[in-house]
């Protein structure tokens, strides 16, 4: 690691992989996710697939919350919209996974922008609670009532065992194929999100996040850009909902309650807000911790499924007491220590 920054061009400064050590690390790490499913056990592969799916969902939240600063509590509703759209596209039109995923994302983005309409007048915690109310109406009322079946196509639906990528071609059927599909989608969205923060749109979001009044004075349209953030974030969460439907193979309004929203907040904030790597770290550590915790607890106590949220909550509080800004900040401190090691200069 160099002790100063020697960038000679803007491209070099803004690059995603800036130093030689990062390029080497990237090349060395690249085969790991590709080879991992052949080494890991079946249940662990399934957990990692879920991590990939949730990374996409939390990236959507990340765009809305850490870039644009909008506390959106409607993660479950967005995923539900994505999931039900996918189920209809796949079951009734036979459209295949990729087209239905895109349509699900676009529709969710549109509805997310509608969810964002209260941002016209309110912000902060009030926006949090208005999106929570919309989440409640969408999931507890709209998706649970059979009267609306002509729109959402039935409250409980199952997905086919085999889903083609486009139409019936290249069917995804095994857990391994689901793993690679989720990995690919996640990679696309990780790169998209990283690039979004480097574009003008990303900078406008950040300006609104820091101080929306001064951003407006600088000529940024506050309302339009906030709605744009909702639409982009909603698109990602909708795609994740679509993948989640494929992963579980069954959709039920119960999956999309407030719990999943809160879980995604825990993931984002445990990882550390503001960095894409923080999202990946947060989702990964929460899911793996829950996986091993449940294994461990069910081995030790026979009926301990209720104990899992209990222990998880206590661990979460300990981690946050030690490092309130999240795991990414903790890693940053380790890095800083190692950089100066053994002699701080």
């Amino acid at each position: 690691m160099p002790c100063g920054e020697y960038f000679t061009s803007y491209e070099g400064r803004m690059g995603l992989l800036r130093w030689r050590i990062q390029r080497v690390a990237f090349l060395l790490a690249l085969p790991i996710p590709l080879l991992a499913p052949f080494v890991l056990s079946g249940s662990l592969v399934s957990t990692v697939t879920l991590i990939f799916i949730f990374v996409v969902a939390v990236l959507g939240l990340h765009v809305m919350l850490s870039y644009a600063g909008e506390i959106v509590l409607a993660q479950g509703a967005f995923m539900a919209i994505g999931a039900y759209t996918t189920a209809r596209m796949v079951n009734e039109l036979g459209a295949g996974m990729i087209p239905s995923m895109l349509v699900a994302g676009l529709l969710t983005g549109l509805i997310a922008a509608i969810f964002g309409l209260p941002a016209w007048r309110v912000k902060g915690f009030y926006i949090a609670i208005s999106t929570l109310a919309l989440q409640f109406i969408a999931v507890q009322f709209f998706f649970t009532r059979e009267e609306f079946a002509p729109i959402h196509g039935g409250t409980q639906q199952s997905m086919p065992q085999e889903i083609g990528l486009v139409g019936d071609f290249l069917a995804i059927e095994s857990a391994l194929q689901q793993y690679f599909f989720a990995l690919g989608v996640m990679a696309v969205f990780v790169i998209l999100t990283m690039n979004l923060s480097r574009t003008g749109i990303g900078r406008m979001f950040r300006a609104l996040h820091e101080n929306d009044l001064s951003a407006e004075v600088l000529g940024i349209n506050r309302f339009r850009n906030k709605l744009l953030a909702y639409a982009i974030g909603g698109f990602m969460v909708g795609v994740a909902g679509s993948l989640y439907a494929m992963y579980i193979g069954f959709i039920d309004p119960g999956f999309y309650g407030i719990d999943i929203t809160l879980l995604h907040y825990v993931m984002l904030l445990l990882g550390g807000m503001g960095r894409v790597w923080g999202v990946i770290l947060g989702v990964g550590s929460v899911e793996l911790l829950q996986h091993y915790l449940l294994d461990f607890l069910t081995d030790t106590f026979p009926d301990a499924t209720a104990l899992e949220p209990f222990v998880f909550g206590i661990i979460l509080i300990f981690v946050l007491i030690l490092e309130p800004k999240g795991l990414m900040a903790a890693l940053g401190q380790v890095k800083e220590y190692l950089r100066k090691w053994p002699y701080a200069y």
Binding site: L134, N211, L213, L269, L320, P324
Partner: protein, 306 residues
């Protein structure tokens, strides 16, 4: 058909239920006013209070410990434990988060959702538990137009009014109250004047959780026992508090009553139109209020400057 009697009885029951929501909502807005934390676990604290009464007064064990004391003593002890829990929480957990991002503290309250629900499922009981006979009073208050208000609701209205009045008087007339108000309006200025922020936050948590447990006990009494649906009150409390303005205690009270009435109207209208309206009515109302009055009825409007 819509008739005056049914509508009036819906109104009365709504006020009764609303008073119970109001108690939990007061606990919520007390925390928000003084510490700026949105407590997502408010419903779970109500649940814990409701469960503690059963644990203390019947043979239901807490893990292996079995306590059995008279019912009314159990209620008092529960409220005291609530206050003590507030103190402990602040000492052990929330003290570490002074000056840290508010979102981190919110995640801690989310962790408490899991801790309390999972903990009470494992250590106490995963099922609905009926309340002892003494806490299921049979009497009710007769009102005109053939309507009656059940005993828990009467108690709820009385206690909620009492709590609001006591808190208002406390904030207005006592030194401690004005210290709390001072640290709520500007923490740094209050610290400069020698106010211990730690102590005010401890008091806020203790009061909040004690009041919330009262609300939880009454909610359980109104349904004859304690079940996990009590925790769902959180979302209604949000609606109530936003309507009244997040940081206003009389606002929380009025908001609670309004949400209760709307819910009861939803139940009533649901019989004619479509069941399930009771959960939607308060939410739609909440959205309308937010659009019309972004700071609620009595909330402080933040005036921004560059």
């Amino acid at each position: 058909m819509v008739e005056a009697g049914g509508l009036f009885s819906a109104l009365v029951t709504g006020i009764g239920i609303g008073a119970l929501y109001a108690l939990v909502a007061i606990g919520f807005s007390l925390i928000y006013k003084i510490t700026g934390v949105l407590n997502f676990a408010q419903g779970q604290f109500a649940l814990l209070g409701a469960f503690l009464v059963v644990v203390l007064s019947t043979s239901l064990p807490f893990w292996f410990v079995e306590v059995q004391i008279p019912v009314y003593a159990a209620v008092v002890v529960t409220i005291l434990i609530g206050a003590l829990l507030g103190v402990l929480l602040e000492r052990l957990v929330f003290r570490h988060f002074i000056g840290e991002p508010v979102l981190s503290v919110i995640i801690v309250t989310l962790a408490f959702v899991g801790i309390i629900e999972g903990g009470s499922r494992f250590f106490i009981s995963a099922q609905y538990r009926a309340y002892p006979q003494e806490l299921q009073p049979g009497w009710s208050l007769s009102l005109p137009l053939d309507t009656e208000l059940q005993a828990p609701f009467v108690l709820g209205v009385a206690l909620a009014l009492l709590t609001v009045a006591a808190l208002m008087a406390f904030f207005r007339y006592t030194v401690l109250g004005s210290i709390l108000r001072a640290s709520a309006s500007d923490q740094q200025a209050a610290m400069v004047l020698g106010v211990s922020i730690e102590r005010t936050i401890v008091i806020a948590w203790a009061l909040s959780i004690a009041i919330t447990s009262i609300g939880g006990i009454l909610l359980a009494m109104s349904s004859g026992g304690v079940g996990y649906t009590i925790a769902d009150v959180t979302i209604l409390v949000f609606a109530a508090v936003v309507f009244g303005g997040l940081d206003s205690i009389p606002g929380a009270f009025i908001g609670g009553i309004v949400v209760g009435v709307l819910r009861q109207f939803g139940v009533y209208m649901g019989e004619f139109l479509m069941p399930g309206l009771d959960s939607v009515f308060p939410m739609v109302f909440l959205l309308v209020v937010i659009m019309l009055m972004p700071y609620g009825l009595f909330g402080t409007e933040r005036i921004e400057r560059l």
